[in-house]
């Protein structure tokens, strides 16, 4: 057994936890979310006990079977305690089929329920990570730069909102579903972003969060209630960015785009991304997801930084910046423009960006300035900026990136 097997079982247990909670919540009702979570947890511990001598041939079926038995026992006991008024019939649990489609429907229902309009976008995303993806509270906290205690409180409050609603949200095709579908997609987008961009301590958690977002985006692109141009664009963007993760993170350092080994990009994910990008092209809506997927597609289609169509990328960034006026988008746009207009113009634009003071704590602002100055041969300025980047680097891998760059400055100036 290797570390790889260990990770595979960790992922299996985490994902199955989410599926079990989704299945069980339909039986216990959303008011008894805690009970569903407890039974799911008990089931996984039972597997730890039973499987130490070997994993059964169909682990998923084993878990669902055991979880249902436990749930049935719970319902029977509750029935005895409360009298016959309980509307839940324990025997319903026995006849309930559990095909993968059924479980997907349960998972979708749970995702929609997590995106309750009174919760903030971040809380909706955190709740999906916890309930649908089975991340522990500490892991969810890491993904959001939060303390586990504070995150636990936030999750408890959010679960209470769900319970107070009294029932799970039933995704159909009516207007309310379409409204909430937008929130669900945004939550998956934020989840991917938390995995792909944010600088959390553990790389394993980041990768897992990003792969979960890809899995859920693909589910949304396929589900009847959510499928459409926007869902396909979201799936395309997570696949095309996700394909770069192995090259971007390997082995233990953050590798900039121009140095990435493009043969290490995940070819299957790239192909899947392009399939969804093609499917997203129907209709007249051009969403932020479309634009970001379009940018990722340009990178995926190019064999190197030099042969990349930077003027098309600049054009897409212009459109994106019109819809999403954040300093980070402005920075990315300026970097793309510097490939078209030259490093000198790029430097000027970045130094005059709207909201640049908000980027001063963002290490990649300094990385971009340092890179452009290096391209201009201005090693002194480059070294100064990279040193400021080093000061606000958030993880060991980011620090390593800056140290390597600063070293390049010293070598090329001597």
């Amino acid at each position: 057994m290797t570390a790889r097997d260990e990770h595979a079982l960790a992922v299996l247990f985490r994902q199955e936890s989410g599926r079990l909670v989704a299945i069980l919540t339909r039986f216990f009702g959303v008011r008894d979310l805690a009970l569903a979570e407890d039974v799911a947890q008990d089931t996984l511990v039972a597997a730890l006990n039973a499987w130490s001598r070997g994993i059964p041939p169909d682990p998923r079926a084993w878990l669902v079977h055991v979880a249902k038995n436990r749930a049935r026992d719970m319902l029977r006991r509750r029935r005895v305690r409360r009298g016959v008024d309980d509307t839940l019939d324990p025997d319903d649990l026995a006849v309930e089929p559990t095909t993968n489609d059924d479980v997907d429907a349960d998972v979708l229902r749970m995702m929609f329920s997590c995106c309750h309009p009174t919760l903030t976008e971040d809380t909706q995303t955190a709740l999906i990570l916890r309930l649908v993806c089975g991340f522990g509270t500490a892991e969810v906290a890491l993904a959001f730069f939060s303390e586990p205690g504070a995150m636990e409180k936030r999750l408890v409050r959010a679960k209470k909102v769900l319970a107070d609603e009294g029932r799970l949200f039933e995704p159909t095709t009516h207007a309310e579903t379409r409204e909430r579908a937008a929130a669900v997609m945004q939550a998956v987008y934020l989840m991917f972003d938390a995995g792909y961009h944010s600088a959390v301590a553990s790389e394993v958690v980041r990768l897992d969060v990003a792969s979960e977002a890809i899995r859920l985006a693909l589910l949304l692109a396929d589900a009847r209630a959510t499928t459409g141009p926007a869902a396909h664009a979201l799936a395309a963007l997570t696949c095309l960015h996700g394909a770069r993760i192995p090259a971007r993170m390997s082995p233990h350092a953050l590798v900039p785009l121009e140095e990435q080994d493009r043969s290490a990009w995940d070819g299957d994910l790239v192909r899947l991304g392009f399939t969804h990008l093609a499917a997203s092209a129907s209709g007249s809506d051009l969403t932020v997801f479309h634009l970001e997927a379009g940018i990722a597609a340009q990178h995926a289609a190019a064999s190197s930084v030099e042969t990349t169509d930077w003027s098309e990328i600049s054009r897409l960034y212009d459109l994106l910046y019109a819809k999403k006026r954040t300093p980070v988008v402005a920075l990315s746009r300026a970097i793309a423009r510097s490939r078209v207009l030259g490093a000198g113009r790029g430097l000027e634009e970045i130094l005059e960006l709207d909201g640049r003071e908000r980027l001063h704590a963002y290490p990649f602002y300094w990385a971009a300035l340092g890179d452009l100055a290096l391209r201009q041969g201005e090693t002194t300025r480059a070294s100064e900026w990279l040193t400021r980047g080093l000061a606000c680097a958030r993880t060991a891998t980011e620090r390593e990136l800056f140290l390597r760059r600063i070293d390049e400055c010293t070598r090329s100036s001597s």
């Binding site: 960790a10 247990f13 947890q41 996984l44 597997a47 006990n49 039973a50 001598r53 089975g134 892991e139």
Partner: protein, 118 residues
């Protein structure tokens, strides 16, 4: 070769609060590797299956029956395994490879008496 009974106390199966799902999965991988390795090397035999956590306790001259055992989680017998080893020192060395210590568990190594008439 002598036979030993390993009595597992506490560990991931009974620890409270239970670990998050991914940790349980990763921990299980270590168990299957450890037990699988022992079986493959002929050191462990597939004895009785895993124990359930609950049960009954019969106690005293009145033979009173209670639910249980409700020992402290870390003392609760959470599993058993029959292991063959050359000596108690060798058996202890095998026990040291068990993953149970990750969750504050312990392994009690008990030689099984050889009562064959000579």
């Amino acid at each position: 070769m002598r036979k030993f009974m390993f009595l597992f106390h506490g560990g991931g199966i009974v620890v409270q609060p239970p670990p998050p799902p991914a940790e349980i999965g990763a921990h299980l991988a270590k168990w299957t590797e450890w037990v699988g390795g022992l079986v493959k090397a002929g050191h462990a035999e597939m004895g009785p299956g895993p124990l359930e956590n609950g049960g009954k306790v019969v106690r005293g001259s009145a033979k009173a029956v209670t639910d249980g055992p409700y020992a402290e989680a870390k003392d609760l017998v959470s599993g058993i395994l029959i292991v063959s080893a050359a000596s108690i020192a060798a058996a202890v060395e095998i026990a040291r490879g068990c993953p149970i210590y990750e969750y504050d568990g312990s392994v009690e190594v008990r030689p099984i008496q050889d009562i064959q008439p000579r």
